[in-house]
Symmetry: none
Subunit: 216 residues, 4 copies
């Protein structure tokens, strides 16, 4: 008895600290985020911070990794859905559109931590490796959908899947990057429009495109 609630308590405490760290960092910046304030925001003592994390840097490294992990779950959610290539591709684009505002909101803090980790080669590697893994995972998924669609004849035959993946990812990353300094022009609508244009003109089959042109 009590063990469960204790385990939950421990898990909760760790997550409480990570979120408190992000929250204070968002308000004050990395350097301005005093451990004291983070502890207080997480409703633990300063010493407890150091029972969970080696030091400030380690705390924020883990805060970033946890943010990535949430992003990964967000992006994979609809990728594994059933359906034909077109439906699944649309699912991925929809997931991206849904993820953009959430990820964008976390980027200012993440960018800060990227900067701080610049000094620690090892931490930086670990942080970026996690990020690359998410991208590679998703790129593979998209590319196999594109190939599958081409073979099944539901996608146009003449595009280069790798270039299209780069374009899709680029459009997505671009919105995230831009949201940091130009939130007005970085949003789900713009992302959706750009992706739709890319898919309509480059990926969808000629019939669709002819239909289009017939409309014009």
């Amino acid at each position: 008895m009590g063990t469960e609630s204790e385990d939950v308590g421990a898990a909760t405490k760790r997550v409480r600290i990570l979120h408190a760290a992000r929250e204070v960092c968002a308000r004050r910046g990395y350097d301005g985020a005093r451990m004291e304030e983070i502890a207080s925001a997480a409703r633990v003592s300063k010493g407890t911070l150091y029972n969970f994390f080696e030091n400030k840097e380690d705390l924020f490294l883990n805060a970033v990794l946890e943010s990535y992990e949430r992003a990964r779950r967000l992006l994979r959610a609809e990728t594994r859905a059933p359906g034909g290539p077109a439906e699944r591709l649309e699912g991925i684009c929809a997931a991206m559109a849904k993820a953009i505002p959430i990820i964008s909101e976390e980027m200012p803090v993440n960018f800060q931590i990227w900067g701080v980790m610049a000094r620690d080669e090892k931490a930086r590697q670990r942080m970026f490796e996690a990020l690359r893994r998410i991208y590679a995972e998703q790129a593979d998924e998209i590319q196999s959908i594109l190939r599958e669609g081409q073979q099944a004849g539901v996608f146009a035959a003449h595009f280069d899947p790798e270039a299209i993946v780069t374009a899709i990812h680029g459009i997505f990353d671009g919105q995230i990057y831009r949201s940091a300094f130009d939130p007005e022009n970085a949003n789900s609508t713009r992302l959706g429009a750009a992706l739709e244009a890319l898919l309509r003109h480059a990926v969808l089959p000629k019939r669709a495109r002819l239909g289009e042109s017939a409309d014009g």
Copy 2:
């Protein structure tokens, strides 16, 4: 007498300091970059730093702005070149491809400074405003080329210029963003391939597209 050479000397000194600041920041990170070391790298004394810049933050704000200014010049170089819409669009894409490695190299330092400026709303606004201006400038340029091309009938009629601009910019931004953590997969070649696919399928006229399909 001597004023000219002194002005040149002053200009040179200012730039020397800005570059020294970037260089030390790249090696040590923002916090690790001591004014002492920057001064020494710029071959001036610590006190001289404060004759050119208000304080450390101001120094780095200016270092970022100078980096942006160089990027702006890089990107505009071929935009203003003469020629038809197709040539000018290709010129812009070529300029982007050429700019990517230079800008990418400067991003780690810029990201650091973004983080630092988080605390100073005013500095951040000034920094981001400069960045937005570059983007707006270029977006306008591209969009007018696209419209001009559509009206002249040298581009396909049915794409949405705004969506295409977003896509082009997105692909470009995406490479810059990604280069920070995944340099292997962010380079001019990838950028070129993605842009080419976008333009070929969405922007170039049907003839070209039909030609394509004739090739297949």
Copy 3:
């Protein structure tokens, strides 16, 4: 039932802690000796330390007192032996020679603790009082032997017992003091040679001295 073994257990535990404290202090220095590590070296928990001692300072005060007590036992062992003044004096000198390496080994830790107790007048007094008691005890013993020997005519008549006691103690203390920084030149052999010279020339009767000179 079990009380005895528990008492023994408690006694053992207390001594284990005191020795662990000395051992860790020898390795890490007083400040570097964490209660955690002492507890671990004594195979008890941190909390248990506080069941035996008020606090860190109290623990180390007791560690020093225990060291003194052992030194006292070592030095008194042969003092109370039977025999004439000469034999008993020799016994004392032999005990000193035997004690030197043991005491010397403990001095580095003791010196550390002296320093720490500087802040706590009361603790320092208690610690130094114990040390003075050992010295006074032994000084009395030696002086009474010297007087007894003079009255019995087995020692030379013209030395000042108090000065000789000071000299004997000084030579002993000097070796202990010096062993802290110059172990090469502080050892039983040197102590023995110096004490022998003192006794031969100053304490033993003329006959011996004449015999000596006859040898020369």
Copy 4:
């Protein structure tokens, strides 16, 4: 102009800091001696402390070395005086007697620092090496006086110079050591009496000793 007074100022500042460090350490103990308070006692800022010394440990290491250097000067003063062996030996003993109260007063602080340096092998070696040098220097001086005196026939022929040097040094060290915990019984008078007894009985020639016994 001004350079001299500046040099003096710099020298003075360093010495002011060293003395302030000793003074605060004597009052509060090593750990209790806050850098802030030392700076304030030396009438400089905290930062200036670190312009002169690497860190707290280095500051106190230098404080001890400077104390040794003063002791060395004190002890050598009369050693180099002219005169026969007997006069010079008396001069050394007189210097010791004069040095005792000064050195004794500094020992509590020095002992503390010995303890602190226990953790830093290198600092400890440097500190103890300086101390050993003083002792070796003086031991050589005394021994050569003793040998010279024996050869000249002004000292007794039958003592072992090395043992006598050990005894003299021992008596001296013993007083210093003892002064730390038993100042009542460690003073110049006691030192003088013990040294006199040693010299009278062991070093001075038989004539003197016979004269003595004639007095008795």
